[in-house]
Point group: C2
Chain length 262, copies 2
């Protein structure tokens, strides 16, 4: 795996990404196709959503569609391209209407929120995108939405690009923490607090001088408090909100600096 597509494969990939999603029925000879690229991608996304990326194999996708793994190769060049399609199609789900009529800041917050939701609904996105840019319509859609909302800051576009990148990274990072804690909880059957508690006890036992070696971390105190809600997930959410606020404050400062000394 991790094969960087060559020249010919690149064309095929791009055609799949950008081509029409509903293909006109063929006229020539041969049996009618029983599947479609979109059906395959949808099945793959379902699996990844429900059982995680580790459960996604050509076999499992084929099985869910009542075919063998090899049947998929009629529609999709390989697993790499399938994952690219999953990724791009899912990014395309991001809503696009974020009105900046109340100013850019509420719009940016709403957009960040939508990105958070999208990634939490499809946590496998976070394991995929480390790959190179896919350059599909979904990716363009996300970039366009981010750029157009933050262009309302009035900053020059080449600066907006940095803002977009930073915002995107903050969202991705914090939602990753949330998704992980959720996954760990379901996967081990252990509640977050139990897991954390067991780990803390182990740490205290094996590393008695922890507080001395990492005083500042220790000062944060035992991070688990009484709460009914999943703790780590709420923590990640707070980190997300605070991080976005910090960044947007920075953007505001940049706006003032740019237009202030007029």
């Amino acid at each position: 795996m991790v094969v960087f597509a060559g020249q010919g494969d690149a064309r095929r990939s791009m055609e799949l990404l950008w081509g029409p999603r509903v293909v006109a029925p063929r006229t020539g000879p041969g049996p009618k196709p029983g599947l479609s690229v979109e059906a395959i991608v949808a099945a793959a996304v379902d699996i990844a959503d429900a059982e995680g990326m580790a459960a996604l194999s050509m076999r499992s996708v084929g099985e869910r569609l009542g075919r063998t793994a090899m049947a998929l190769y009629t529609y999709v060049p390989g697993k790499t391209e399938l994952v690219d399609l999953m990724y791009d199609r899912t990014l395309g789900e991001l809503p696009s209407s974020f009105s900046t009529s109340d100013g850019w800041r509420p719009a940016a917050l709403a957009l960040a929120d939508a990105l958070w939701d999208l990634h939490l609904r499809h946590p496998w996105l976070l394991q995929v995108s480390p790959a190179r840019p896919v350059l599909g319509p979904g990716e363009f859609h996300v970039q366009e939405t981010l750029l157009s909302v933050l262009a309302a800051t009035g900053l020059p576009l080449w600066r907006v690009r940095w803002v977009v990148a930073a915002l995107f990274n903050i969202v991705r990072g914090s939602v990753q923490a949330a998704a992980e804690s959720r996954q760990a909880a379901t996967e081990t059957g252990q509640s977050e607090e139990d897991w954390w508690f067991a780990r803390s006890a182990l740490l205290g036992e094996l590393v008695p001088d922890l507080a001395a070696r990492f005083p500042t971390v220790a000062k944060l105190g035992p991070s688990v408090e009484e709460s009914d809600e999943p703790y780590l997930e709420r923590e990640a959410r707070l980190s997300f909100e605070a991080g976005v606020e910090l960044l947007l404050d920075g953007v505001e400062a940049a706006i003032v600096k740019a237009s202030g000394p007029r």
Copy 2:
């Protein structure tokens, strides 16, 4: 893979992470160990550095040490734990001396820079850490360093934690872009510009209405300019610097807001 360690395994993992790195030679019977956990981890890191995470297998690590894959299981419970060790040991390489005597901002910048370097030297870190927290000494070391530097802002520690998370995410995201572009270049043999140029041509051909559908993205213009240096990598570096500056501006605003209305 992606197995969340159970109770017993958790103890073993933590012992490996926190235990002494130079094990005292055994006294009992049996042949002397020819390997060591540290040697295995070092070999694994070498492979990941040189050939990427995809080339890292128990077989390849064993081979590099002149053993079979199964020999490693004498020292390490499984691949998951090996990767955790690689991750944590490598994080431990982050320098720790960042003087805040000139103020917190230069220290934070230097620290961000060190993090950037570390990740660019070991790009596979970015594919690993998506996993749950490892809770090893390296991870604590990084947290401690980040927290202690940013505690110099004077903000309450629970707020510093958000800053740390945001900063870390920005660094990780932008260094990922840099690492990817570098990897893509070496992997395909194609220069970044060639790759980008081919992709752009393909896009223009397959999606003639690209500029109409994504006007803001299009306004950014063809991103490739004349330059001898790797373009995308420099772009990622700029994005990193700008993102960090934005965030630190936000932090400054937060400091003013907290202490200003005194």
